[in-house]
Amino acid sequence: MALSGIQIYKLLPQTNCKECGFPTCLAFAMKLAAKQVELSACPYVSEESKAQLQESSAPPIRLITLKSDGYEIKAGNEVVMFRHEKTFYNKPGVFAKIKTSAAEADVKELAGRINDYRVNYVGIDLEVDGIAVEDDARNADKMQKTLSVIRSVSKKPVMLFSDNVASIEAGLSQLSGETPLIGCADSENWEKFAELAKQSKAALAVIADTLDGLAELSEKAKAKGVEDLVLVPKGKNLGHELILQSQIRRLALKANFRSLGYPTLAFCQTHAQIAQAIAKYAGFLVIDQFAEELVYPLLVLRQNIYTDPQKPIQVQPGLYEINNPQPTDPVLVTTNFSITYFSVANEVEGSGLPAYLLVADAEGMSVLTAWAAGKFDAERIAKAVKAANLDTRMSRKRLVLPGAVAVLSGEVEAELPGWEIRVGPREAVDIPKFYKQVLQVN
């Protein structure tokens, strides 16, 4: 169990000597609790305290890394049931399925498409993480061939699924130096799988339809010397999968149940399975069909859910033109918190009214938060105006402040001589009305 700042403080020397780089032992303890520093920064912790602190900080869900030449996909190390409690850390790796029964040309084409898929979302390039090979042909040669074709077009990590251990072995022969995932080991064939995983240093997926079954398999595999395990809870339907995934996460976090302290994998056929796997605890996803119109929303959803709730997505500060504005049109100021930006931009765009949207760098906070934290003040606004060269660019200098920070109008006026400072509405939805009534624009 994680310790609180005060609990950690009680284990520290309490001398406030400052050698750790923090002004007090309590400050250091709080940073430790937040996992933002290493314990070793304090040279004076007693051995006894050290042992206690290390015990409390062991990750309850093992970190598993799949590797190939130049790629690494991590899962595990999660610490919460609900993302608002802290954050979800490692985005579930998304693997698209290729079958060994497919024709060589088709494999090549599909592997190429999967490999090259790239879509831009708020300035970030999103990609599919790798390829899952399903040995539906149950044929070692086919497996070997499929992998060599895949490796001719893609270096991304792979997963190998077959109930024929020989196929897996054949596939692994193409993957020297990599850490793929192999599976799925069940109560019948686990031993051979475990042996293979140990030999090849691959991660091993174990599958069962109960928690008892999963725990038993993971213990046995571990006893065989396989540490890197991935759990595949095979639910009877969507709802059952949700329950199993939730129970595994809870047992690992709340009961420190080591046999289930591994990331999970979900095979997804339906849209609902995809949404659920991302929202509820899958460490890896294997999607049945690769289609752009599905992969795009999937990757965006993953990006959204795995955003650190403490650090909202930011948009690039700067000047945005909406509906072809002229140098006489008003300049609306807002912050670079993405939600704030989108709600203002959408409203203006939807209304058809022309505007310059000046996005000030408020470190990704909304207007009110930024104001309260001193990140959105007259100086920052003036800086943004100057950075965007608005003094020369605009023929009519009209700046509209968000209504929530009406208090700033005087200071902004002082910072920006020659500008007409207007206080806009508090809510974005009132912008069209404000245009009509106050700015007299239609």
């Binding site: 609990q7 002004p23 309590l26 208090v407």
Partner: protein, 650 residues
């Protein structure tokens, strides 16, 4: 039904009423006016009367202390007559003193057992020298140094050039008898740091005063206490607006101003000017002794980090820029001359240490004077100014943070707000059925505006009577002409033009209400984040100490009603007045205390509120009356439901 006789104010003719009548009704029959600003709900306590004979049944004794009740005091609007009684209706003024929730700042006295020889760093020594002659050719300075070494054991006394210049004449004018003032700084173990502060050409009376000053440089107000360091007695307390105000009302605008060409120098001169003015004023105030500014030999200075930078002429720019690192938290000892103070040019100026950019020496000094670092009790200390600064902790640990509450509680940033001076409305009651307000004005005349305490009281009353909803929206569906559409949205009229000094209506607008909500939410959120940061529930706080410039009093009950202060029993609160100057005073007197402030500064853990969303969350949940999480304010919830006749939905 039984009838009873009721005598008011020893009148000859009692009135006769039925059993079950309220005292207020009986008073009306007797032609006596009992003030009921809250509309007879037992909320305001203004209808207190004393029953000197007979008994009544009290429905509620809210606001009365046990002592009051034993003396027969009761609320006329809540007391039912069930027998013959005799009642005294006290004058309004006396009533106000009886109310138990107002907290007035306490007076200062020198600390018990103060001894200048033991505690004081400024020492006075009387030295006598053998006259030099042809054999003894030792120079004056060496002669003095030798004496200091041999007689007093000080090997290395720092003597500034300008004092060296004075030595020759002092020795001869005083006929080889001089008084020297040394500042001896340091603990017993290590070699103390000794420097000379003055040398006088005579032996003065051994118990004559040694003058020192304790100063708090506030963003708005500068306060100075003139102290006799020999007895510890405070001889004058003076304060004046910080002359920097005309260059910006808050810390941030001062910093911006300091960045401008010549701005820093100007601000430095302005504040030094204010202090010099105060020194002069304080000297004049002292009775029995003729005191000159040059007689002041030691000064301790508290103030927020920005004020300290400006006072010393150090650029404060980095204070407001992330990650908010000030140039200094702890300044070296300085001499008055270096800064331009009108005290003795060699007087020691001791700037007390701060913790961080937004937690300055005013807070460390405040913590000392509140005794936070020395108590077993979990204590919350709050200093309300333009910035709300707060500290939570006890002997074991201290955490602190600062939040920008804005100047609303100082009466600024609110349309009809003003400082707590004559003409300010300082308390308001609203009638729960007619929504008519009544108010008390500082100095008793016609009102000019509303001060911080008045605004707190007004907000609480508007909330309790339903003039505004819990989100601060004015209820336009009430039938009163006082709620109206103003220039800037909806507003409530507190005083009509004909009642006011300037003939204009005094109102509170929706924007004002928002400002007040933000101010109180920022402060309460600060409390919560502090408590959360160390994982103790706020409710476990054993005492709440409040310092700051609210004027001379703060109504605890109303502050709780609006959710500014946590809902704890009233007796846990104490209002300490200006804690910063008091802390500076303690440090001025005693080295031990000065050392404690240093320890406090090094022990306090500063929580940066803008580091994550925790503060924002807490702030949003406090942007409601009294709070979104009503279970934090059980007493307010109860009072609100009684006032609005709501039942709890289950």
């Amino acid at each position: 039904m039984a009838e009873h006789k009721v005598t008011f104010n020893h009148q000859a003719e009692p009135v006769v009423v039925k059993s079950g009548t309220l005292i207020t009704e009986a008073a009306r029959l007797a032609g006596i006016e009992i003030n009921q600003p809250c509309g007879g709900q037992g909320r305001c306590g203004r209808c207190v009367v004393q029953v000197i004979d007979g008994k009544v049944r009290q429905r509620s004794a809210l606001r009365l202390s046990a002592e009051d009740i034993s003396l027969g005091y009761c609320l006329a609007c809540q007391s039912i007559i069930e027998g013959d009684i005799s009642v005294i209706v006290p004058e309004q003024e006396k009533i106000e003193r009886r109310l138990v929730t107002d907290r007035t700042a306490v007076e200062v006295e020198p600390p018990l057992g103060y001894s200048p020889e033991y505690h004081q760093s400024l020492k006075r020594y009387f030295l006598s020298f053998a006259e030099p002659n042809y054999e003894d050719q030792t120079d004056d300075l060496s002669r003095l140094q030798k004496q200091l070494r041999v007689e007093l054991g000080f090997k290395d006394v720092e003597i500034p050039l300008s004092l060296v210049r004075k030595i020759g004449s002092a020795l001869r004018e005083g006929n080889w008898q001089v008084t020297v003032y040394l500042n001896v700084n340091g603990s017993n173990e290590s070699e103390p740091h000794v420097c000379m502060v003055d040398v006088l050409p005579f032996h003065c009376e051994s118990d004559s005063p040694m003058w020192g000053a304790a100063i708090d440089i506030g963003t708005t107000t500068v306060t100075l206490w003139l102290v006799d360091l020999w007895t510890g007695v405070v001889h004058a307390q003076v304060s004046e607006y910080n002359a920097q105000i005309r260059r910006g009302e808050d810390v941030i605008s001062r910093i911006i101003y300091a960045d401008k060409e010549g701005g820093l120098q100007e601000l430095q001169q302005l504040v030094v000017g204010t202090i010099n003015q105060l020194i002069e004023l304080a000297c004049k105030r002292v009775k029995h002794y003729p005191v000159q500014p040059e007689d002041i030999l030691k000064l301790t200075v508290a103030g927020n980090t920005t004020m300290m930078h400006l006072f010393l002429g150090i650029p404060p720019s980095y204070i407001r820029l992330a990650p908010f690192i000030p140039t200094f938290n702890q300044a070296p000892f300085l001499r008055a001359r270096e800064i331009g103070l009108s005290a003795n040019p060699h007087a020691i100026v001791d700037c007390l240490p701060g913790v961080a950019s937004y937690v300055g020496a005013d807070i460390t000094a405040g913590v000392l004077s509140a005794g936070l670092d020395d108590t077993q009790k979990l204590t919350l200390f709050l200093d309300v100014g333009t910035n709300g600064e707060m500290v939570l902790g006890s002997k074991e640990w201290l955490v602190t943070c600062a939040c920008s509450a804005g100047p609303a509680f100082e009466g600024a940033g609110v349309r009809d707000g003003m400082r707590a001076t004559s003409g300010a409305i300082e308390e308001v009651w609203i009638h729960s059925e007619t929504y008519e307000p009544s108010y008390r004005v500082i100095g008793g005349g016609k009102p000019r505006g509303i001060c911080g305490s008045g605004l707190i009281s007004l907000l609480a009353e508007m909330f309790m009577t339903g003039v505004i909803d819990k989100a601060g929206n004015l209820n336009t569906q009430l039938s009163t002409s006082r709620i109206r559409e103003g220039e800037h949205g909806m507003e409530y009229v507190v005083a009509w033009g004909e009642e006011t000094q300037h003939g204009k209506d005094i109102v509170i607008t929706r924007v004002d209400i928002d400002n007040l909500l933000r101010a109180k939410a920022a402060i309460y959120a600060g409390f919560l984040v502090l408590a959360q940061s160390v994982g103790v529930p706020l409710e476990e706080t054993e005492q709440v100490l409040i310092g700051g410039s609210f004027g001379k009093y703060l109504n605890i009950e109303k502050s709780i009603q609006i959710g500014l202060l946590p809902d704890l029993p009233w007796e846990k609160f104490n209002f300490l007045g200006n804690t910063a100057v008091k802390g500076a005073y303690f440090a001025l007197l005693s080295q031990e205390n000065r050392e404690r402030i240093r320890e406090i500064a090094s022990k306090m853990t500063y929580i940066e509120l803008s580091a994550d969303n925790t503060f924002y969350e807490a702030f949003m949940s406090a942007m409601f009356l009294p709070h979104t999480d009503m279970s934090r304010f059980p007493s307010v919830l109860g009072a609100f439901q009684t006032a609005n006749k709501l039942s709890v939905q289950t």
